[in-house]
């Protein structure tokens, strides 16, 4: 669906079901340079099981208008604005990679609004490889190729997509090339590199939090994810073996299983 936030049009997938304001709200926030489509194997499940889902295209990404936001802090404020724009008081946030930083900062800034945090391939800081950052800022498509290489584990490099017939590497690469690389990936990578408040924010988080990490994740390794999780009281950690950073697609079922268990316990849908 499309709606306006701060005067700009925002696109969000509602997971194949009509957006229903009577159901609890789950907001999915994608990683650097990507779009709402990374969440297709999680969002549709929750939309069909009692939740209102918004898998967002961040400003300037995918089908959303405007310019990309330049800092994690601005993005966190924007998520809060999204909640207001759809007339909700609270939401559960799910993020991948950069989306984890955004959600962490959002929960830190707006503790009354955010009810749970689910962090996939997250860390307290994501300092960028300077070569990768430079390539993205110079609009070089090699940045996408490198990101796809480093972001995927065996399922990406060899294959075995959960959806028959889809090939991870080229699908991911195409998502990252939906808009101009410099204006999406370049801006996002710089925002990640600049963000320094993750560990301090984590110490203040008091809501149920789940971290899903993967042993083959080269971009946000398990030890970095655990370092963040250790700072959040009561935080739960699920580790997926033999999987890369793109766990939400590479091991979609395992991610969904962990997420279902966490959400049903901590942010239950209303019973009919």
């Amino acid at each position: 669906m499309k709606f306006k936030v701060n005067g700009e049009e925002v696109f969000a997938s509602t997971g194949g079901r009509p957006f229903d304001k009577n159901k609890p709200l789950m907001i999915f926030v994608h990683g650097s340079g990507l779009t709402h489509m990374t969440w297709v194997l999680q969002t549709r499940y929750f939309a069909f099981h009692g939740y209102s889902v918004l898998a967002l295209d961040m400003p300037g990404h995918g089908l959303s208008s405007g310019d990309s936001l330049k800092s994690i802090e601005e993005m966190a404020d924007w998520i809060s604005d999204v909640i207001d724009a759809v007339d909700y008081k609270e939401a559960s946030l799910i993020g991948h990679s950069q989306g984890c930083l955004v959600n962490l900062e959002c929960a830190f800034r707006y503790p009354a609004k955010i009810k749970t945090l689910s962090l996939m391939g997250g860390a307290g800081a994501i300092p960028m490889n300077q070569e990768l950052l430079s390539l993205a800022e110079n609009n070089d498509s090699k940045a996408v190729d490198l990101m796809m290489d480093w972001a995927h584990g065996p399922a990406g490099h060899f294959g075995g997509h959960p959806v028959p017939g889809l090939y991870h590497m080229n699908t991911g690469g195409m998502l990252a090339k939906t808009r101009t690389i410099r204006d999406t990936l370049g801006v996002d990578f710089r925002a990640c590199d600049n963000y320094k408040n993750g560990f301090e924010a984590a110490k203040k988080i008091k809501i149920p939090t789940l971290s899903i990490l993967a042993t083959g994740d080269k971009m946000c390794p398990v030890k970095e994810g655990k370092k963040l999780a250790d700072l959040i009281p009561g935080s739960k950690v699920e580790i997926i073996d033999n999987c890369g950073h793109m766990m939400l697609l590479e091991e979609a079922d395992k991610v969904l299983k962990a997420l279902k268990k966490f959400i049903i316990s901590n942010f239950p849908a209303k019973k009919n």
């Binding site: 489509m37 889809l166 080229n170 939906t178």
Partner: protein
């Protein structure tokens, strides 16, 4: 600083030959089986009713029924998508069903297509006679008439279709230019690249949006199994206009799903599978998928040999006294030679058309007297194949259509195999001798 450091880091993603062997498959997820297992089954257990509903609602990936998808077939689909540089692929029971499914995914009754006139005879019949029965009309344009494609586009045109190298005349379609025309009109370019395989050309890199193959030919390569596939490039923006409502709006045909919104760069394949396989059902058998996978493992090795033998054959035919003309994109005076050098840097393929002196009678004598070369209605076998199109593959065309398709009575179509070239040459000498004295030899 070393040269390596100056160049920077390169992605360590697997390259073509490696993908030919490994893409789409992980042994540890299949009981450690090094070879891809053949899942000879019709259907798949659901964990519970929630799991069943999730699969039907496309909430989760997985298999329901082998008409829609099958794990062995899925390995083939991923492998070809990887080799073509595509986001997704859908395998079918034949190349013709891949073309049909592509068109039916794209078009509604009342729509129009612009189509290259130089196509396999069966494809011509599909576009000329069968699709109009579904309310889909086509305008045919000569593949070298780039401007003609532009002029033929109408308000209701939903795509441009052509063979990368035309059958059997070897006209090379100018994909970079024709894709620009298609994209300016907001419609996709569909390319049949059966003759090239992704080893010789990846059409998506040159502007194609959907690639179709008869996998029966060089991809499988051994003349054993029928199969087809459609591959999606993932770049085409279905939402740029209102031409494709069943892709871009909640579609009654699949429970209100908007394929473009939900699946973006794989939307076309998702719709072709969810709707097309469900309703038309031209599914590939797991055994045939496995056979094709065996062929693809040696694709680059075979294509190199096919192409080197074809180059020798072109040289031999060009200097032969019984040959009136030779058509192959490698020949310098071929009208598309320069374009072929750009689009087909790894080789110009192993399909050759040539005219035999003495016309139809000489052609028939040649065909009847070669012994090593097989006379049959196929191309892309490991073995050398010959045929006389006017009396076989294109025989259902009337005289006017035959002429429009660029065929002549003296034309012999040759699919060069990977035998020892000297043996092929010696066999052809026998054929040419018979062609020079048709009655004497055919009576022996």
């Amino acid at each position: 600083m070393t040269d390596k450091k100056k160049k920077g880091t390169d992605p360590k993603t697997y390259k073509f030959d490696t993908l030919s062997l490994h893409a789409g498959y992980q042994p540890h997820k299949n009981a450690g089986s090094r070879q891809v297992p053949i899942y000879q089954t019709t259907s798949y257990l659901f964990d519970d009713v929630d799991h069943a509903a999730a699969l039907f609602n496309l909430e989760r990936g997985g298999h329901i029924y082998s008409r829609i998808s099958n794990p062995t077939v899925a390995v083939l689909e991923e492998r070809v998508a990887a080799l073509e540089g595509g986001t997704a692929a859908l395998a079918t029971s034949s190349g013709m069903s891949a073309i049909f499914l592509s068109i039916m995914t794209l078009c509604e009754s009342g729509d129009h297509l612009v189509v290259s006139s130089q196509l396999y005879g069966g494809t011509v019949n599909l576009f000329r006679l069968t699709l109009p029965k579904f309310g889909i009309k086509c305008t045919f344009v000569k593949p070298r008439d780039t401007e003609g494609f532009k002029k033929a586009i109408q308000k209701n045109t939903k795509g441009i279709f052509g063979e990368l190298v035309g059958n059997p005349g070897n006209e090379v379609m100018n994909m970079p230019e024709i894709s620009k025309i298609a994209h300016e009109a907001g419609i996709p370019l569909i390319i049949d690249a059966t003759y090239q395989t992704p080893y010789l050309c990846k059409p998506i890199e040159h502007g194609a949006d959907i690639v179709v193959h008869s996998l029966t030919k060089w991809m499988a390569g051994h003349g054993s199994s029928m199969a087809g596939i459609l591959v999606e490039g993932g770049k085409f923006d279905w939402m740029q206009n209102d031409k494709f409502p069943t892709m871009t709006t909640p579609y009654e045909g699949y429970h209100g799903l908007s394929f473009a919104e939900e699946f973006g760069p794989t939307a076309f394949t998702m719709k072709a599978r969810a709707e097309g396989m469900r309703d038309f059902g031209p599914c590939l058998s797991p055994q045939n998928a496995w056979n094709v996978l065996q062929g693809i493992e040696t694709l680059s090795v075979r294509m190199q040999k096919h192409c080197s033998n074809a180059e020798k054959m072109v040289e031999y035919l060009l200097s032969h006294e019984s040959v009136a003309w030779v058509s192959h994109p490698s020949v310098p005076d071929h009208p598309d030679h320069e374009l072929a050098k750009k689009l087909l840097p790894n080789g110009k393929g192993s399909m050759i058309a040539f005219g035999i002196k003495g016309g139809k009678e000489a052609g028939e004598a040649f065909i009847n007297n070669v012994k090593l070369a097989s006379h049959l209605a196929n191309v892309g076998d490991t073995r050398t194949l010959v045929i006389h199109p006017a009396s076989s593959t294109h025989s259902q065309m009337d005289a006017a259509t035959l002429k429009f398709a660029g065929l002549s009575q003296d034309m012999i179509r040759l699919s060069v195999g990977i035998e020892d070239f000297e043996d092929i040459k010696n066999d052809f000498e026998t054929g040419f001798r018979a062609a020079r004295k048709p009655r004497l030899v055919s009576n022996q």
